[in-house]
Subunit: 133 residues, 4 copies
């Protein structure tokens, strides 16, 4: 069990189940990290010019996931008008990034794993959105 | 003229006017900074217990503004499904944060200035959204 | 095994053992998250005025840990002149934050867990520093 | 005058001159932004394979500058053991990034401007370090 999960079990400050939030946060931070490593790996491949879109989407994905994790880590001042569109943006970039990584998955193992991290995160965002709306 | 503005004039990679984007980025980063200093100042006031909501909203505002600035600083892989909800989340938190800071503006000069930074940013997000939609 | 760990096993771009880096990244992101939840919990306690130092240190800790994780997630362009002082700053803030959280650990369960996350991260930074120097 | 400058004039919480801090923050955020746009521009050039080092250094520079700005925006809980090595890491990455951008400055206008932003930030970090030590 991560510290995040333990912390949210103790600091149970919203109507949303703390385990749903904690597992979303873990998916978000792991996806943000995977995308960061993916960029570093993409920049070293021989077919670099074909990886430009992948690098760009991974950059957006890292930033949006990391900030979404921060916002939902602070449940006490929850505001649907902020959290809902933020999760929608996050879901959209995770989907776009997974789609693009899958294009390269056969040739680049790092893209195959990154695509999984993005899909996983996309699905966690979708679940959390369903709970919040 | 900031370096951001110069950079976006040179790297003119989207259909959106670079000056609109650059001035939105400047408003976003300045708002993120103002909120960060506001939290530090709020934590030092004598009526601290009345500032909790303000601190919480400023934390969200800092993070959402900073990430929105990052995403729109990379115009080459623009995706409306990501940028539009992100700007909507940003606009909502800037508005909420400005509203709360205004409550304290009469007693705390730092909240008065922070409210202005949030309003300014809210209006830049609105303008950019109107251009993108 | 997190996606971060899988990614760094594949993208083995530096002389440093990928498992050491991956477990440091996991400790850093988990500590950053724990501190963020701790701030939200601190802001809700009845003895709020005694928690100001804790909140302030947790804010610094979150930001320094999150950025240190980002930098070491990109091993291909490793520069000791950047990574070593960054890890030193990170170690120092984790230690300061753990010390302060421990003061409140008896009364606030969330501070007890956050102190553990900080100590864990401090120890991972120390190990990674020993490898790099 | 930016909102950051106004905020730090009001929230005068450390021994350091607020104008020195505010102008360092402005240089740090502008440098972080310039590097982000530089990456986006680099990814679009025809000699992409020669820009890999530049992209990698700009990524580190963005993150370290943005976090340094956050930490020095909260002067009330200042700790030299954190701030000094953080500024040293920041100075080192700004210098490395400026050196690399200058290599490409003759061919890429966006690298010429980014190098200036990095040099400017390097010099502000140096000045602030001299004040703190």
């Amino acid at each position: 069990m991560t510290y995040t999960t333990q912390m949210l079990e103790i600091h149970h400050a919203s109507a949303v189940d703390p385990h749903t939030v904690a597992s979303a946060i873990n998916a978000l931070t792991d996806c943000a990290q995977a995308c960061m490593v993916d960029i570093d790996a993409d920049l070293g491949v021989s077919n670099l010019s074909e990886m430009v879109k992948c690098i760009r989407l991974c950059q957006h994905c890292t930033d949006v996931c990391a900030t979404t994790a921060r916002v939902i880590s602070r449940p006490a001042e929850y505001d649907a008008q902020v959290t809902v569109p933020l999760l929608e943006a996050c879901l959209a970039i995770c989907k776009a990034c997974a789609d693009e990584c899958e294009v390269h998955a056969r040739h680049h193992e790092h893209c195959r794993v990154c695509a999984e991290a993005c899909r996983d995160c996309e699905s966690h965002c979708r679940q959390l959105l369903a709970t919040l709306k």
